[in-house]
Symmetry: C2
Subunit: 298 residues, 2 copies
């Protein structure tokens, strides 16, 4: 227990939503899960949980970390909505505005990966840094880009998983992204690995050549991140990265080779084991991301 503000957080995921009442990862007061089915079922179930918490505990802020893409422009009439998701039934569904109206507390709303990045910055592997990236390599590839302490903003939010990168020499597999074919997600996601090999990722040996191709794509993404968002550190987690721990050293080597001595390459190479690292919060990054967004709204 601490004197820190109590925050209600909701991580809206593609298959389940995690509601959490906490001041931070060391002080979780309550947690509840709701399956993500339809907005008509899922959102009222979340509201019922938050209603109970509001009565029993009062919370000072609300944080919402959602699967995307989402409308994060506070000046937009559709601020707080999920936008062009392929997820059936959830396209153009308001999430934040109805909860802001219901609970009338300061509310933060952003993508799940931006939230997770902020949580790593507050409590995890990016503490003390102003500019860093959080990458999750799972079914897809998601990236939270933090610049000067905040998620990068402009025309929407970052979608770095869909960068187009230089291909590994001799690799002409078309890739698995329905939009871009061989973008980063189309080459390096768990779904892409499954499409390319016909095997589930966890059944593929650590020395299979597919991991070199995955690391090449992720190293290429890191090259472009380094030269655009100039992070002080890149955290790489998610199911694929966690289950195939040989990937991180391969990505480090791919980044150094790709930078080829340019710009801050020497500084990065000299501290590469601290520059590309696994995240520190593990499975907590998602729900703690919602708490971090709530705290940032205060």
């Amino acid at each position: 227990m601490t004197d820190a503000p109590l925050v209600a957080g909701v991580e809206l995921g593609g298959t389940k939503c995690v509601c959490v009442l906490a001041t931070g990862p060391g002080d979780i007061r309550a947690e509840a899960r709701v399956p993500t089915t339809t907005p008509g079922e899922t959102l009222p179930a979340i509201e019922a949980i938050l209603d109970r918490w509001a009565q029993e505990h009062r919370f000072a802020a609300l944080g919402l970390a959602s699967f995307g893409p989402v409308d994060v422009d506070r000046a937009s009439p559709t601020y707080g909505a999920i936008t062009a998701t392929p997820k059936p039934g959830w396209r153009h569904v308001d999430v934040a505005q109805r909860l802001i109206a219901r609970f009338a507390v300061p509310t933060g709303f952003d993508t799940d990966v931006s939230g997770a990045a902020l949580a790593e910055g507050r409590w995890g592997g990016a503490q003390g840094l102003e500019s860093f990236c959080y990458v999750t390599v799972g079914t897809g590839v998601g990236v939270g880009v933090i610049s000067s302490g905040q998620p990068v903003r402009g025309l929407g939010h970052a979608e770095v998983g869909h960068l187009r990168i230089a291909r590994a020499p001799g690799d002409s597999w078309p890739g698995a992204c329905i939009y871009h074919g061989g973008c980063v997600e189309g080459l390096a996601s768990g779904f892409a690995v499954e499409q390319r090999t016909g095997q589930r990722g966890e059944t593929i040996g650590a020395d299979d050549p597919v991991w070199g191709l995955v690391a090449h794509a992720l190293g290429g993404m890191c090259h472009n991140l380094v030269l655009t968002a100039v992070p002080q550190r890149i955290l790489i987690g998610g199911g694929v990265a966690t289950k195939q721990p040989q990937l991180i050293p391969l990505i480090r080597a791919a980044l150094i080779e790709s930078l080829a001595g340019y710009a801050e390459a020497d500084r990065i190479a000299a501290q590469i084991d601290a520059f590309i690292v696994p995240p520190a919060l593990g499975d907590q990054a998602g729900p703690m991301g919602a708490i971090a967004l709530g705290l940032d709204a205060l």
Copy 2:
């Protein structure tokens, strides 16, 4: 004449340095040029000009926009120096600290392209925007990335000209960048065009297929900028872009094709002629960048 603060600006370029005393592009009180030879010649010549201006006019701030890479980390002992430039004699040469010590006024220091971007934000083609990019395609490819009104900061400054991108189908020319071969600069700079064709860019016809390859590289760079820095607008100027005006429509088409409907692609496509535009300040963007950096230091 205005009541705005009077700023002394220095644009340090690879061949010449432009000193300017101004409140903005509509109110230039003095201008002087110094050839860029050696630091031992060039920097004292700049100081002599600024000394005179300091006596005659007093200026409230100083702005320094330099060729790069430069050390922009205010906490670094080498803040204000040019770092790993290939330019003979200028590697690890302090520029800002000696001028800060000499004139004791608030001083802004950044790359020439960050300065030019800020000038376009204040007075030119990016007024009213928080997040935008300024691209110059000349001998090299330089990009100023502005996020939430300021140049992106972290481990150094952005160096987007050296992104690695997907190659145009069937194009296997190795590229002209000494670090990366076929990065953006290695494919799209004036130097790269000259290397590839054996002709100077201004002698190549507008319908030559090389411009399609240049536009593919710059469109790929814009794709990655859109998904990382999420700019509200991208300004593209510089000698090559100015002398080959057919490039801007080709880059617009390449970006739309590359985004392939993803993320904010529909919003961008609907306003593409306002999304990728030439800069508004022309040759003034460089020196006015120095003035903008001085104003931002106040």
